[in-house]
């Protein structure tokens, strides 16, 4: 996979601001709740590492990771930032 995010589900307050801003639509809210009682986002396949979820999150729950550019080039995938 070329990108992913880690989600601090215990800090999440279930505001759902991240879900609609995700361009590839890979965030969905869980059915389960965290220890505070909030639903939290789950990551499906297809994250592009665009960082929009992290930027809108009021609780700093996301860290965003991307495959280094060289490895992506070597792997023959289409380039993107």
């Amino acid at each position: 996979m070329r990108a992913t995010v880690t989600i601090d589900i215990e800090t999440c307050k279930g505001c759902v601001l991240c879900v609609p801003v995700c361009p590839p639509r890979v965030l969905v809210m869980s059915e389960a709740v965290n220890t505070k009682g909030y639903r939290y986002p789950l990551l499906l396949d297809g994250c592009t590492g665009c960082e929009l979820c992290a930027k809108v999150c009021p609780d700093y729950c996301f860290e965003v990771y991307r495959e280094p550019l060289e490895e992506r080039r070597a792997g023959g995938e289409a380039m993107s930032t």
């Binding site: 990108a3 992913t4 880690t6 601090d8 215990e10 800090t11 307050k13 279930g14 505001c15 759902v16 601001l17 879900v19 609609p20 801003v21 909030y38 590492g49 960082e51 929009l52 992290a54 930027k55 809108v56 999150c57 009021p58 609780d59 700093y60 729950c61 996301f62 860290e63 965003v64 990771y65 991307r66 495959e67 280094p68 490895e71």
Partner: protein, 258 residues
């Protein structure tokens, strides 16, 4: 409490919380826009290399919960009084990077006189107002920036022209004063607006660092709790009701003669 999360092997971390954020947990509501503004401010302080000489003068509101998680010196002021405190601080420590962090209730209701006088005197600090059109911390009461038609606990049924008068467009008021060097209004309800907010904050901070004079940024933020909407409806409410009264953009920029 945060558990360290295992980073995926072989990947670069491209986005992390700000270095100057001491803890991600805070007591603000789900969907609040203020922590987004805080993130931008902390990122910029780090980026501009001014952490060691930063003095943040904080007002009283929901954001008063932020000083304890910000790794910069914070001088806590009273409701409405941050501009005079910032004046004293910057005048005796002109090399410090001084900015206020206030809400609309704090700055435009209680403290209107203070910010106008500081701006007119051209004090060399940056004033930042987080405008959600409501007194959030006390539970949803009208401020001087509550928009017409907005329901609050003190404008039941909606702010009414005859009963409650008009809201104050603080950025426009400040921009009129000679001696203000940079005035801009931004919002944090969409990713692109967040990006613009970051740019305006950067330019306002730079205005202070370049010694050009009083700089001012108004940031429209979501307050779903005291707008009485679900958190996910915050951005839409801001776009439909707040941003329509308070247009975003740069109102004044001495550097470009805007």
């Amino acid at each position: 409490m945060n558990q360290p999360l295992a980073p995926p092997p072989g990947m670069n971390k491209v986005f992390d919380k700000p270095e100057l954020l001491l803890r991600t947990e805070h007591s603000l509501c789900p969907g609040c826009g203020e922590p987004i503004a805080l993130r931008l401010m902390l990122e910029l302080i780090q980026e501009l290399g001014v952490r060691d000489r930063t003095i943040c003068v904080a007002g009283i509101g929901c954001y008063t919960a932020f000083p304890m998680i910000m790794d910069v010196d914070v001088l806590q002021a009273l409701h409405g009084r941050a501009p005079s405190v910032a004046t004293g601080a910057k005048r005796v420590r002109p090399d410090a990077f001084v900015f206020t962090m206030q809400g609309d209730g704090d700055m435009v209701s209680e403290g209107l006189q203070e910010v106008i006088h500081s701006a007119a005197r051209g004090e060399r600090f940056t004033a930042v107002v987080l405008n959600n059109g409501v007194f959030g911390e006390t539970g949803g009461h009208a401020t001087a920036t509550t928009v017409l038609g907005q329901h609050t606990k003190t404008t039941p049924g909606g702010r009414n022209l005859e009963l409650h008068g008009n809201p104050i467009k603080i950025s426009e008021l400040i921009a009129q004063l000679d001696g203000t060097a940079y005035v801009a209004r931004a919002s944090v309800h969409t990713p692109s607006s967040i990006k613009l907010t970051r740019q305006y904050l950067h330019d306002a901070f730079q205005c202070q660092l370049a010694g050009r004079g009083f700089s001012f940024v108004e940031i429209l933020t979501m307050c779903p709790t005291d707008w009485f909407v679900p958190p996910e409806a915050g951005p839409g409410w801001l776009a439909e009701h707040l941003k329509t009264t308070y247009p975003v953009g740069v109102l004044k920029d001495q550097a470009t003669n805007a």
